[in-house]
């Protein structure tokens, strides 16, 4: 039996590289963490029930506040979304599309756990 000493990390794809976020245990199912990106922008990394991770922009386009990581998650037709805590618009976690306003979307980022 071999023991791995490298600690697993959640990483978010940004530009050409991957930005380390945190150890996997800090992103709990049904919740998210906010991440500061190298250019000063921010992302929210979610873990859904089954364990999969999603990363979208953290700033709520309707209010300009960095709050999406604090919203409640849900699923619609099997697709996970987050509802903004401020004015409650929902954003698809996989596509970043706002489910309540076709004209609005937030960025999506690749995210890995390794």
């Amino acid at each position: 039996m071999t023991t791995h000493v490298t600690r697993a990390m959640v990483r978010i794809g940004f530009g050409e590289g991957w930005v380390p976020v945190c150890v996997p245990g800090r992103v709990e199912p049904g919740r998210a963490v906010a991440v500061l990106l190298p250019d000063g922008s921010q992302a929210a990394v979610f873990r859904i029930r089954g364990g999969a991770l999603h990363a979208i922009g953290n700033v709520d386009p309707f209010t300009g506040a960095g709050v999406l990581a604090h919203g409640l998650t849900g699923s619609l037709d099997g697709r996970p979304y987050v509802a903004s805590p401020l004015l409650k618009q929902r954003f698809d976690l996989a596509s970043g599309r706002c489910l309540d306003d076709d004209a609005v979307a937030v960025p999506v980022y690749p995210v890995v756990e390794e």
Partner: protein, 867 residues
Amino acid sequence: MAAHLTAQRTIVLVGHGMVGQRFLEALADRGVTARDRVVVFCEEPRPAYDRVHLTSYFSEGTTPEELSVVEDGFMERHGIELRVGDPAVAVDRNARTVTARSGLTVRYDTLVLATGSYPFVPPVPGKDAEGCFVYRTIEDLLAIEAYAKRPTTVTGAVVGGGLLGLEAAGALKGLGLATHVVEFAPRLMPVQVDDGGGEALRRTVEGLGVSVHTAVGTQRIGTGPDGRVNSMALSDGSALATDLVVFSAGVRARDDLARSCGLPVGERGGVVVDERCRTADEAVYAIGECAQAADGRVYGLVAPGYEMAETAARTIAGDAGSFTGADLSTKLKLLGVDVASFGDAHGAAAGCLDVLYSDSRSGVYRKLVMGADGTLLGGILVGDAESYGILRPLTGSVPPVAAEHLVLPAGAGAPVLLGPGALPDEAVICSCHNVTKGVIRGAVTEHACGTVPEVKKCTKAATGCGSCEKVVGQLVTAELEANGVTVDKGLCRCFAHTRAELYEIVLALRIGSYRELLDGHGRETARGGEGCEICKPAVASVLASLAPAIGASVHVLDGEQAAIQDTNDRFLANMQKNGSYSIVPRIPGGEITPEKLIVIGEVARDFGLYTKITGGQRIDLFGARIEQLPLIWTRLVDAGFESGHAYGKALRTVKSCVGETWCRFGVQDSVRMAIGLELRYRGLRAPHKLKSAVSGCARECAEAQSKDFGVIATASGWNLYVGGNGGATPRHADLLAQDLSDAELVRLIDRFLMFYVRTADRLERTSVWLGRIEGGLDHVREVVVHDSLGICDSLEALMAAHVAHYRDEWADTVNDPERLRRFVSFVNAPDTPDPTVRFVPERGQIRPEPATAPAAVPVALSETVTV
């Protein structure tokens, strides 16, 4: 222009009461107002209002404005000239003119008298003394209220034990006076009920603390040296000490104007009219209580008045219409006691038989009058008038079940419960507006009304006295179901259950987790999914309310519970528009020491927080960043502060007035009680937020009647009010129980709150809940005061568990590194504050920087964001 004017008729209406207004509406409906000039003389200082619900000013706190029956802009829209506060003083039938007190004289083509009645005051000596009142107008009520609030007014007596007398007695009782009713006849409500019904009524009324004196007359009103009422001499030689007298000995038609212009009036008053409501003069009509109808009667009820208004308007518009008489059915809630009588209530028809059920223990009395052929002729219901809505429309027909089953209480061998389904389409369901069952069904099927409010709007049913509302509701549901519409009562996409059902499931099966509940009891399509933002906080609230009872963790940030809390609960603070948070420490009862005030000031200064006194008698500190919350709370907890739960659907504040300890009027220590209640219920999570207040006397400086549960001190204890609400749809609270001791008060609040927590829907304040649940306040009183469901022990046990397990969430959080880890803006940069949280200075403090780049998205008022 001139030609047009001559073609136009002038219609003058004298008297703007309920019937007068109805007449104007009927004219407008027929297009008459668009053509003719309409002038209205209104004696009272305000336009027509709902006299039938006058007492709700006392019992429900309805404001004079809310009593108005005139839709906003009605007069302007129809070009009606309404002269408020300007009574007509003379009519010249030869010149066809009406002259008003202001001196204005108007020439009429058609004159309509709708002058109503005046209260009859028996000519007893002393009747004009200071402290004597009548009960007819809003001004009368205001005067009674002001006089009752004088510190020397402690007792009130009502002369007259009829319908209005008992209403007046209820009002005096509600004003906190020891109350007497003096009735000349041998029983209460002699016109509506018989001896048996009167006896049941008497027992119940006495049980409510009103002293009843029947078969005695009032002989003299005694006065003190200051000229104010102090006693009443009765015909049996006894005397009553009383500080206030209300005369309610019947009404007389106001036919003075008609008399003075020579129109015939009836023997006992009332302008004589024919079946088209015309007086002896073709140009003059009389409608409502001032008229003696074609059947020789003067009706003292509003429904016949409305029919007369319609009849007169039709005739004036050139349509056919007639009024030949109406029945005297009434259903009332007097002092909380149901009383109804309908049809031939006293069994005047030849050969009729009585079917009677009487239970003096519960104060229930039901009598039906049946014709020899089995026809239902009429009846009297006291104490429980549930079946009135069905029985009245059945009058005149042979009921589909035997009469004894109609009087027996449900469950007592009555095999068939008669529902509105048994009624024919022609049955009049709403007698105030003459709406039949067929019309109500049509509203649902043809006009696509899907809810009771829609049907009310469409048909006017249930918008008068309200006694038919329940049956209307049943008909609407039945009709919807017959049309195959199923109303999904489920909480959301994930659960087909209501919140109350989920509560029972969690309690019975001791389910401690959202996932378990979703996977085991959610809709098939939702099982195994993420759930949604609607059911998560609702379930979180249920779990938090029941945690002590089912052995789950009590801290809302533990385990899976943390992920289903609403955003505010996640950080135990209120998120503000720019992503910063506010902090509200608990200040029980609004009482705070200078030391604690200084601590709040120091914390606010050191962290640069915007500081404001809230509407809830405490202090809110705004503008904290997530990572500052634990630092701020460490200092607050050290100084002895606890979470104020401003973020939770939980107990908010129990406001207090300064009360007996300082205030010259106070009769109890309201601050002590408010602090006690706030400490007892702090942390209690509920379907919606809970607010309370305690006032030290009836002046009500703490506004307890606008709270979910409000307490007002009386000389002998506490009165408990429930179901009040401020906010967008304010509602005055209802009196649940009176003169309670400290222990009785607390026990009743325990039960009330737990019953609410158990049965309310998601985000349903107590006010809405009380209005929605079947049986309303009476049902709640039955359950929590009389323990009709036998659940009070368990309700009390649930509250005891809550009290025993309460812990301050913030103290537990600042002492737990695991929980604290979440309080960072960025997981990968714990020391970096969120750059989107920006402030600008204003009036010496901070405020969020006004939004720039993404334009503010307009939010419609209806979609109020709940946090």
